[in-house]
Structures are given as structure tokens and as C-alpha cells.
């Protein structure tokens, strides 16, 4: 069993183990195992080893390199890394090397973590299987014939395969939680605004949040603590104090009121629903007051999301025009160059979303689609608001099914979109949510249970997640 991020950092800070050794072990594991998984699109071996040596030198000199000292981390390839290609798994960004680091990258490095590579994803984070990548798909480490989920599938797989103890992803409608559930790891979507989006290539700006993947809830809390907090370079980042995270993990759920969301249990596949109900029973056994709650508005969340997110994407992706960075396909005039570049540079799913969003925003359809979806978003947020008047946290399935087969849904976008149905509501409301592994289906595929809390309720979120982790059935690794 590989050490957790916190164990590793403790060993590095006390010079019990060198950061170089920890980072070299991660790079060797990737070299040995990633051929079959394809979690990484770029491994930064030299850069990572050099950085690890700096950390070891700092320890030797008596200074503390930080709470994540020497911990190898992987970054989804939509997080900007200065001088290192950041592709969003799209041909249109080609070999673009950002001239700056994302705030989360700066903060992870300041905490002593070492970036070992960039991970595969659905192009521009649009997808639920990591099959929409110009580099080809990532495979689920638990079953190579199945998808790892998406869009942050590379980051989820990198942690699940034991290549790194920590990774960052981005979640717009479930892109951290859904792959975490499919791969059997912990994945966190923080409160909107808790983590700076500076340097995250934008998909849908009112929904995008960066968050961690980890093998344990405590590691996820430590990673979130390192990246959270106000950043003046993101005007939508909150200036509120960061909620208590690490200390919350072991707090337990005695006296907590937990609502089991009917709509996030009843409609999902039977083995997934069964694990969610067992999780609820385990919380009652751990001292929480557990009751069922119905939030009927949630069933409209997915339809609203698949109008709002594409609408925002169609605007955000207008910047890819072949002028300032990335791919340019030559043509006799500038307008034809724009069209040729975008036609060649974007994959099919990105084109679908851009067109869907353009349509939802276009004259004659704006009121019927976009404006109506925005009002439904209000309904979803109000539904959560009413539930949180009674409950401290809400619980349900993370996904309607366990990991599906590669290729199963690529020709049917709507079927692919339906796999986000349980995760989209929290995104629309901007509230924090976490997926915690909780047992498996009869085929041995991991099941994720989702916990949601009110905005900035991360302390409650991690308290419940920690209790779920302690109550989860023991792993039956193949």
C-alpha cells in the first residue's frame, strides 16, 4: 500500500525519507504502469526531480518546506503551468506554453508539493468519460475495458492507480466527483469561489471550480487547505475565511442532521442505490439523525445545466481564433482563417456544445432556453436552501451507474450527459460536494457516495466524509 500524502509529507519534513526518493518512486510507477492506463499526457521528470532536491536541501538547512513537502501531484491539463504545455486535450491549443502559473499551482508548490505531470481529460473539460481527448482515452485502473469517468479522468486514474497520492481536477457539472466515483477515490468540488480560478482555462465560468482527488479524505482536506482562499486575480474568489478542513475529518457526525435525497437515490441503478442507503444507515449508526428528503426541483437540473454550461462555453471558447496562441490554419483572409482554425482545432463534442450554447443564446430562442434555464437554476438553489433549513448535510449517489464500457456512449451525447445527473445540482447551486468511495457493485466496480453541504459548509462536508470513509466496507481490490 503506498503511503498517503500526509504520511509522505511527514516523512519528508523529518528527513526520514527524501523528497527525491518519493518523487522518483512516483515517476517510476508512472513509467511502469501508465502505458496501460494513459492517465498522463506529459510527465515532467527532470523538473520534478530538481524541485524535489530543492525541498530536500531546505529540510537539510532546517527550514520547513510546507505541509505537502515532497508530495508528488498531478495536474489536469487545463491548469496553466508556466513554460509547460497546457493543452486542454485539444488540438487547438497545440503546444501552447502559458506564460504564467495558475494560482493553485503556485499554492501547491508553496506548500511543498511537486508537480510530476499533466493529466488527460475530455477536451476543454467537456465530457464524462475522458474519451473526448485529442490524445486518446484514459482507461479505468480498476477495469481497463471501462472509462475512468470525466472530464478529469486522468487525474482520478492517476490517484486510483497509485501513481500519485494527490491530483487536481476541475468540476463544472461533476467532472471531479463522477470520475472519483468511477475510479474509487475521493473527489471534492469546493464551494464556488473558495478556490481561485486564475489560470484554469475557462469552460463555464459561473460553474467551474478546481478541487482535489486523493485516496483518503484527510489527504483531500490537506490539498484543499493548500489551494483555498481569496486571490485578487480572480474577482469571483470569496474573501470569507477558509472553513476548517483537516480538523473536521475526524470529528464524527454525532447529532448531525443528514438528509438522504430521494431524487439522488431512487432513480439510480440498484447496486448504487443500495450502497447509498447503506451509507445513510452507517451515518445513523454513527450518531447522526438521518431522514429522507425530497427536492423535486433537482430532476430539472440536468436539462438546465446542458443549456447554461454550453451557453457560457460558446462565449468562453470564442477566444480560440488562431490569432494570439495555439493552432492557426492558414487561409487567404482573417475570417476564413478563424473558421478553418476552429473547424480543424476543435473536436466533435466541443463543436456540439458551442453550437448548443450559441443556439440557446440566439435571437428567438434566448427566452425559451437560456433565460428559462437560468430561472430553473434559481429553483434548484431554492430547493437546496429549503433542505438545508432542516439538514446540516445531504447525501445521495454520486453517479447513476458504476463505470461504463469504453465506447459505450460516444455516439449518443444525451446518454453521456445523463451520467452527470446526480452531480449537476450542486454545481448549479454553487454548494460544496464530495464523492467518497463506499463499496462496490456485484462486478467489483467502485461506488461513490456524494455528500453536499451549504455554501462554505466544507467543515460539515469533511466531517461526514470522514465518517463515511471509516464506515465504508473494506476494499476488495482485484
Amino acid at each position: 500500500m503506498s503511503p498517503t500524502a500526509l504520511e509522505l509529507a511527514a516523512a519528508v519534513r523529518t528527513a526520514e525519507r527524501s523528497a527525491r526518493d518519493a518523487v522518483a518512486a512516483s515517476i517510476e510507477a508512472i513509467a511502469a504502469g501508465d502505458g496501460a492506463i494513459h492517465a498522463f499526457v506529459e510527465v515532467l521528470a527532470d523538473r520534478a526531480l530538481a524541485r524535489a532536491e530543492q525541498i530536500d536541501a531546505a529540510v537539510a538547512a532546517g527550514s520547513d518546506p510546507g505541509p505537502l513537502a515532497g508530495v508528488p501531484v498531478a495536474l489536469k491539463d487545463n491548469l496553466c503551468t508556466r513554460g509547460v504545455p497546457t493543452t486542454c486535450a485539444s488540438r487547438i491549443l497545440g503546444t501552447w506554453c502559458p506564460p504564467y502559473d495558475a494560482t493553485v499551482v503556485e499554492r501547491l508548490e508553496r506548500a511543498g508539493a511537486v508537480v510530476v505531470g499533466k493529466t488527460n481529460m475530455d477536451e476543454f473539460a467537456m465530457g464524462s468519460s475522458t474519451e473526448n481527448s485529442c490524445f486518446g482515452p484514459t482507461r479505468n485502473p480498476r477495469d481497463h475495458a471501462r472509462v475512468p469517468g470525466g472530464s478529469s479522468g486522468g487525474s482520478a486514474a492517476a490517484v486510483a492507480a497509485g501513481f500519485v497520492p494527490l491530483a487536481l481536477g476541475s468540476d463544472t457539472g461533476g467532472s471531479i466527483r463522477q470520475p472519483a466515483a468511477f475510479c474509487g477515490v475521493v473527489g471534492v468540488k469546493p464551494t464556488y469561489g473558495l478556490v481561485s480560478r486564475y489560470g484554469l482555462v475557462a469552460f463555464a465560468s459561473s460553474l467551474d471550480q478546481i478541487g482535489p482527488f486523493a485516496a483518503t479524505v484527510a489527504d483531500a482536506a490537506a490539498a484543499l487547505a493548500a489551494i483555498a482562499g481569496h486571490d485578487e486575480r480572480d474577482s469571483t474568489s470569496l474573501s470569507d475565511p477558509v472553513p476548517e478542513l483537516a480538523a473536521a475529518v475526524g470529528r464524527g457526525v454525532l447529532g448531525r442532521r443528514i438528509g438522504v435525497v430521494k431524487e439522488l437515490v431512487d432513480g439510480v441503478d440498484r447496486p448504487v442505490a443500495a450502497r447509498a442507503r447503506e451509507a445513510a444507515e452507517a451515518m445513523a449508526a454513527a450518531g447522526a439523525t438521518v431522514e429522507e428528503v425530497s427536492i423535486p426541483q433537482l430532476r430539472y437540473g440536468l436539462a438546465a445545466y446542458y443549456l447554461l454550461a454550453p451557453a457560457e462555453a460558446s462565449s468562453n471558447l470564442a477566444r480560440f481564433d488562431g490569432v494570439r496562441y495555439g493552432l492557426r490554419v492558414d487561409a487567404p483572409d482573417a475570417s476564413a482563417m478563424n473558421v478553418a482554425t476552429r473547424t480543424e482545432g476543435f473536436g466533435a463534442e466541443v463543436k456540439r456544445r458551442i453550437m448548443l450554447g450559441t443556439y440557446a443564446l440566439s435571437a428567438g430562442y434566448y427566452d425559451a432556453y437560456y433565460a428559462r434555464a437560468q430561472r430553473v437554476r434559481t429553483l434548484v438553489a431554492q430547493g437546496f436552501g429549503r433542505a438545508f433549513a432542516t439538514f446540516d448535510a445531504l447525501l445521495g449517489a454520486t453517479t447513476p451507474t458504476t463505470a461504463f464500457a469504453l465506447g459505450e456512449r460516444t455516439e449518443n451525447p444525451l446518454a453521456m450527459y445523463l451520467s452527470d445527473t446526480c452531480t449537476v445540482p450542486a454545481s448549479l447551486a454553487g454548494i460544496p460536494a464530495i464523492s467518497v468511495p463506499f463499496g462496490a457493485d456485484p462486478a467489483g466496480l467502485p461506488v461513490g457516495v456524494q455528500v453536499m453541504a451549504p455554501a462554505l459548509g466544507e467543515s460539515t462536508l469533511f466531517a461526514v466524509a470522514g465518517a463515511l470513509e471509516r464506515a465504508a466496507p473494506p476494499e476488495r481490490r482485484p
Binding site: P99, S206, G322, D330, D333, T343, R375, P413, L428
Partner: protein, 110 residues
């Protein structure tokens, strides 16, 4: 709707190939005939699913553009170092005299 119901159908009309072609043009994308047919079917399926929103009464609800009740976010207007110009230009497909360079803007017939 039951027969004899005279209320207008609140569901928006289905999308067809002409609208998809129009939207692709607005989005600066060129579609082959095969893509046009495939995308039309796929977008129609998604929009048909989204049409269920028409059954909800949203009268009087505020549209939600953003999860945070943000007003103007200001900072003090002090100069600070920008990104390095050479590093930024290095990433451009074509550069001339420190500027981004594009093909001619006006087409032959314009």
C-alpha cells in the same frame, strides 16, 4: 395536451438542419454534410430533453447567472508588473514588430 386544448404549446420548435447551419456560421465552424446530419440529430435529442423545462412555472423567479451575490469587485488602481511581452508573443502563430499578425481582414470581393 388534450384535444380541444387551445393553449399555445410552450415547447420550442424542433431544431432542423437550416438552424444548425446558421448556428455553425455564427460560431465560426464549417460542417460537412455528414456532420450537419449527425449534429442535427444529436442537438435535436438534447434540445428535446431540455424542452421538459417548459413544463415548469418559472413566472416571477429571478434568473440566476451566478452562484454568488457579487457586486462590483474593485482593487486599488496601482500599476503592477504585467506578463512579459516577449513571453506572450512567443506563443502567437505569427508576430510582426511586436504585434500579433493576421492575414488580411478584407476578403477579395470586399
Amino acid at each position: 395536451m388534450t384535444p380541444g386544448d387551445t393553449r399555445p404549446d410552450p415547447r420550442p420548435p424542433a431544431i432542423g438542419p437550416e438552424q444548425v447551419r446558421h448556428v455553425a456560421r455564427l460560431a465560426r465552424l464549417r460542417l460537412s454534410d455528414e456532420e450537419l446530419a449527425r449534429f442535427t440529430g444529436q442537438l435535436a435529442a438534447v434540445l428535446d430533453y431540455a424542452a421538459e423545462l417548459a413544463e415548469l412555472d418559472v413566472e416571477g423567479l429571478e434568473p440566476m447567472a451566478h452562484p454568488l451575490p457579487l457586486r462590483n469587485v474593485l482593487r486599488s488602481d496601482e500599476p503592477r508588473p504585467p506578463l512579459r511581452r516577449d513571453e506572450v508573443l512567443e506563443q502567437a502563430p505569427a508576430v510582426e514588430d511586436g504585434c500579433f499578425c493576421v492575414p488580411r481582414i478584407l476578403s477579395g470581393e470586399g
